[in-house]
Symmetry: C2
Subunit: 963 residues, 2 copies
Amino acid sequence: MAETKKRVFFFGDGVAEGYSLGKDLLGGKGHGLHEMTHVGLPVPPGFTITTEVCRYYYEHNRQFPPGLEEEVLENLKKVEKVKGQRFGDPSNPLLVSVRSGAPVSMPGMMDTILNLGLNDKIAEGFAKLTGERSAYDSYRRFLQMFAKVVLKINEEKFARKLDEIKARRAAFLISELQNMGLDVDALTQELDDPKDSKYREVKVEGELLKKVAQLLKIKPNKSALKTKVRELLEGKAKDTDLTTEDLKELVTSFKEIIRQETGDDFPQDPYTQLWMAIKAVFDSWNNPRAIEYRKIEGIPDDLGTACNVVAMVFGNLGDDSGTGVMFTRDPNTGEKRVYGEFLPNAQGEDIVAGIRTPMPLSKIDKTDEDQTSLEEWDLEVYEELLNLADKLEKYYRDMQDIEFTIERRRIWLLQTRRGKRTPRAEVKIAVDMAKENLIDRNEAILRVDPYRFEKVLHPYVDEKKVRERFGYVPKLVHGIPASPGAATGKIVFDPERAHELASAGEDVILVRRETSPEDIKGMAAAKGILTGKGGALSHAAVVARGMGKPAVVGVETVEINEEEGYIKIPAAFNFKGVPITLGEGDVITIDGGSGIIYLGDVPKEEPKLGGEVAELLMWADEVRRGKLGVRANADTPKDARKAREFGAEGIGLARTEHMFFSEDRIRDFRTMILLASRKGERYERAKERIKNYQREDFYGLLKEMDGLPVIIRLLDPPLHEFLPTTDDQIRETARYVGIDEEEIRHLVETTEEANPMLGHRGVRLAITYPDIYAMQVEAVAEAYLKLKEEGYDPKPKIMLPLVGFATEMKAVREIVERTLEKYSLKGNIEVGTMIELPRAALCGDEIALYADFFSFGTNDLTQTTLGFSRDDAGKFLPEYIEKKLLTEDPFKTVDDAVAELVATGTKKGKRQQPDLEVGVCGEHGGDPKSIRKFYKAGVDYVSASPFRVPVARLSAAQAVLGN
Amino acid sequence: MAETKKRVFFFGDGVAEGYSLGKDLLGGKGHGLHEMTHVGLPVPPGFTITTEVCRYYYEHNRQFPPGLEEEVLENLKKVEKVKGQRFGDPSNPLLVSVRSGAPVSMPGMMDTILNLGLNDKIAEGFAKLTGERSAYDSYRRFLQMFAKVVLKINEEKFARKLDEIKARRAAFLISELQNMGLDVDALTQELDDPKDSKYREVKVEGELLKKVAQLLKIKPNKSALKTKVRELLEGKAKDTDLTTEDLKELVTSFKEIIRQETGDDFPQDPYTQLWMAIKAVFDSWNNPRAIEYRKIEGIPDDLGTACNVVAMVFGNLGDDSGTGVMFTRDPNTGEKRVYGEFLPNAQGEDIVAGIRTPMPLSKIDKTDEDQTSLEEWDLEVYEELLNLADKLEKYYRDMQDIEFTIERRRIWLLQTRRGKRTPRAEVKIAVDMAKENLIDRNEAILRVDPYRFEKVLHPYVDEKKVRERFGYVPKLVHGIPASPGAATGKIVFDPERAHELASAGEDVILVRRETSPEDIKGMAAAKGILTGKGGALSHAAVVARGMGKPAVVGVETVEINEEEGYIKIPAAFNFKGVPITLGEGDVITIDGGSGIIYLGDVPKEEPKLGGEVAELLMWADEVRRGKLGVRANADTPKDARKAREFGAEGIGLARTEHMFFSEDRIRDFRTMILLASRKGERYERAKERIKNYQREDFYGLLKEMDGLPVIIRLLDPPLHEFLPTTDDQIRETARYVGIDEEEIRHLVETTEEANPMLGHRGVRLAITYPDIYAMQVEAVAEAYLKLKEEGYDPKPKIMLPLVGFATEMKAVREIVERTLEKYSLKGNIEVGTMIELPRAALCGDEIALYADFFSFGTNDLTQTTLGFSRDDAGKFLPEYIEKKLLTEDPFKTVDDAVAELVATGTKKGKRQQPDLEVGVCGEHGGDPKSIRKFYKAGVDYVSASPFRVPVARLSAAQAVLGN
């Protein structure tokens, strides 16, 4: 045991014994105080009792370690010396605050005691120095906090007493006003609008107004007067209305409450108070709130808290004193100007408690003519504050959020921490600071949280603003946020109808139980998509993200009746508290970033893709270029254009099956499938037509991405997805293809699968139906030749899905190359594979013998590695996350075991063939945490949906920078 | 280039230049000849031209290397010297055979020429030494083979000429008989049964019989005479009937055919013949048959063949000569006695060609009084043959299959190879040889092919015997062999009806499109199972193997109509060649080892579990004990007993869900599921009842396995498997459970899954419904305590299925241990997990923190790793195997990547926790090749279905021995 180890660290007057010892030992607050002291910022002196003491305390049945008392007293002496005051000396008393401070921020979870060291005698002495009012104001505050935190007495009793005194004071003030001849009732009944016919004016002017204003401590104008009178009539005097006598009465009453509640007198000895308070701070580490909080946040229980004992400075010494908070930059916009609030003649947490309306720091932030600002209140102090802000930023190299107290025009800093900010401010501050040379560009890149960054790129609902506007938030229900962005529109259930209405200029939200490939047209037409089933990787989610369209999925609590055209939201989930039924045409707003559905058109915050965003991404590109590329998943020229605009360096995945679903095409494709075994002229014609469609698709894509690689994945889904299902469709298909309905039904039945995810799809289809791939390759080859002829530089690559065995890769590559040979293109177009099975990753060396590139399809790889079906996992995944069995949705952030397979496959593949290009094209390719894992796994690029390309660029740079 | 390298290796007179140079250089046949010569066995002299020459030949545009000619001639001289004859010398000619011989056996794929060195003049000279008949017999044989092999003339022409001459000779003999006064017609019309009223006897006796027999070269009895006369009347004389004149005429005709076909005379120069023949042998390496064969067997094309030139010995020099084949032990039973056939006065491949019926070697093998045997024919020669057999076995330490020729009572060995044998003989020979100290016990263990060993343990259909008995094989159709054994019974489609009929003593075969857990009772009652759908891991297959019951599955070509009660077998697949429709009650036989279905009751070979099998397994156990354990997968006491009988050392997997499907139990289980969220008394009662059932189940299992570990897997399948599906079931369930039908329908719908294999099952259920596992653990605990009380030594272990995350293992282990604590059993019963997801294997170290044991569920691990759904893979797996994309069904023999995951999971798990017991309980646990892989992967035991336990014991020993 380190008996002799230092347990208490002094700070004050430029000396900080605990400087650089860190948060683990001193706690966050202590660390900040020592640091600020060290830098020479104005911090009241004090000392920190370390977290080690707290741990000792719990390990020894809540006993302090021997010798602690001496150490504390020694340090208290140092504080006395710096302050020129003595603890417990009525003639010149030192008062202190006792505050907890854990290594990890646990806001509001633990306790604080101010003004400790007061007792009846010292209060008297203190009054001589600061005035009676301030002294008894401090004393009554101390009594209340001490009672609550140390003695565990219900605060309610104190609050009730205070209200009682305030009501009495309010009544007194009203009677005074009446005595002055003011018609109080008439004044409150007076209407505010002078143009209104019912307007009756009560005149309050000149000397009367002045006297009244003085009495009430308000600005001498009528609107201020009316507000104040209304409050007083409700019995609500302010704490500043209280007289010294009122405060003395409170002190007496509070001591009486303590006696009643504890059976003991309030401890008058300051040292007793101090030890009780320190004990209470350590005890607070294990109060139920704190334990619960740590459980939720996953903070270890054995960290312990430090305890800070700091000399009091007083914001409640009169109108030249006060307390405030300040952000060193605007946390909303990121602009470089201080932002905050200030409350004169107040102490500690009065601002947070909201007992009076604080003033802004700067003139410019006033919202109301009657308001004043710190800048106007005391320009000199204001300018000193700006100066301190500057110093803080220079030291911390980040925007700070500080607490300060002004004691008779002198500023004291009581706490500093990194300021919370909006995503937009985060970007601007990072970029600005880099330009100011406070940080370098790499640090600017690392400063921006990529998950928050995404919000900068999409509109979203800001509930605070909605509440400001409506007075309430018309929240209906919560689903899984599947594709960010907010959209408002009329509910439509039928995709066809959605398309119609959208064509007619209506904004619609497509509401479906779930979507399927046939709904694509309706999805494309809608402003947003809402589904009852599915998770983050459901069809709706994947397609919506691909389209950059807001989507909320898996809203399982809502009954969606597509047939009868309504949705029913249970009472439990909506803002009205009664069941709500909505039908086609009713307007809703969805926020795909938060997963919340609102009734009606709620205001949305529009993204402003300003200069700093572009600048940051440019810096990010410089960092990652040549190390981790970013491509996009895009199937259409429109998406490709968007991707290129957003900075994609190619297409990492172009699916070819979505191209088959339009009505004219699916007929021919069905013909091809149904006649595959017997072939014939009709078959050949259908194949030719599909080839022509696909050639045009590929032509468009390749042209849009001129000069950049485009990886075209050949057909992947099982054939039954393309077959007709309804009787009508079967009848129509039978007619079109020219075969029996029975035969179609038979095929539909035999292609049905128990687990289609693990079924006859991908490259397995090419083994059975080599013609389909050959046709697709022909289409690629012809598009390539056409573009070459026109002077373009197309760079298609052909990707085979679901390869598990080197033999498959070899066999199907042969099919592809035989076809390319017909166009003399063998060797011009690379052939690679999607690695989406554990086996493929484990056998990457074998498969690399026949592949020019790998692209990890981490969606399917996650499904197979974890044994999670993306369609079904919704049944238990939420529960898993809620119960902390999983910390993250593995379909959003790639699971470590899957990342391990990516690393294994990459290593084995590149060992076999050092030139092998390796990428990731699963949805994870746009997820920042996943991108980090992929970079570590050694891949060359990630591919994300077009709208996530900027996030991917930033994340890729961060990954390269080692974060 | 190794110009000076030796290319021709001589053997003869005890000298073998190529001894120990191996098959790669000398080919298999050459290697054997050199080896036998070296050992001092009687082999005619000759030489081998190496495979290197063949490779040179193909690399140099079919030219021989320079100097080869000299080398060949030099060696030919050595042969002449040993034989005392000269090649091309009419007065004392050396004749040779020229035979190919590749490093890998390619039976019948390549060519042989005998009697080379003959021409018109030499034939005359040769006739003086051997008699005219033998000389011209040899010459006509040579001409025919040379024409076919070297000159590529269609054999048909020669065969037709031979038939013509034979017909002429037959007609002549018939007329001779008639001349002798024999009533030929009456003789053939005479009935064979003297008791038949229509019997009319033709008398042939005394001197006449003797004369006739001499003419026809038959035994002097009437039945032999009648057989011969019938043949002659059909124009079929035997080659031995031919006269010298006939043979001379054939020689003339054959030379004429050659002239006509080639436009050239037959080459009279022996050296020209020799070089043409050697060239033809090398050319035969690339004949289409050989290329095709190599492709199918995966033999490299660049091995090349050797060419052996060997001095001829003659089996056709008269009745003191002949040719034969001999097995050194009985290849059917394995008994230690020579077995084979011999044909007097014949040459080369006459036995294989079947031109005459050969005689057996030993008296004891005669099937017919009229037959003679080599033993009787020449006892001295026979005994010398026994002596040679003994020498061969001593040298080769295995049963040999040899070709020999007897030239004037002297035996010459022309070839030796390992003798093919039945599975039963394989076991007996291995065990006997170990007892004879020819090999040691380890080698005996390694000698037995475990796949063939399995046949020893199950009845099977031997088509040869069926054909012998019926004259045809009533084959209906072929499916996937899913569970070995053969069974005969009446077709029944309904499991309930199967149970009824079986109870009434009928043998039934349950025929279903596919089976589901509700069919268990019917499956248990049936003698065998036949399904239209599914593969080697379908429900039917797995359950049947578990029951040790024959099953053929995936008979997709057959239409099975359960509703109307018939199956329809297409014409293409059955022995009748017309569509066959069978209904309930029709008898069929199925062979689950071969996958073939037969019409009616066909004879089956019954396994005789003789002493050698038991002995071999005992030896195997000694080898593997402490290195690789063998347990069984068993769910019932009956299976457990069987497993113990077969030598299982515990139960590696007892599934608990099969126990829920009987009618009374499923009701209560449904109640439990349906009331899970609201609980209540009805719920508790149902739970209690199920617990009691399960306790009895476990009690029985544990009692049967007293003292041995029993791993009980808690509930695994998704809940929807247990829910009612038909309207009737739903109505009944609603009544029983006491809730709305609608609610049940709703639950049935919401539990439906797109990919149930990857769905809400296994340990995932325990997260949602912890009560189910708790109830099962209670049942285990109570069974345990009851047995303990009764003085038994139960060793249950609890296994959690489908764990993917350490957090799941931890959370559910807590559920289990909380329950065990209630019985004060925490720590007495181990808790482990099934590793069946790639993630679980990859994170074995993390999971091992909370697991006492691992058991790899390689069925599901194969599905997830390869992305193959066992239910759906039937759509493409057969095609994959056919196209050689896969060499084996990965559901039968574990895939290498899956084995790699087993190794990874084992290594990581044991590194974390060295005491961790690791096993395999997938179906692969009974597959020999897989067992080898698992042993390499480091597992402690494998678990197989009871009937495969013996195979697993043998395979485990082989794995330990490094095979």
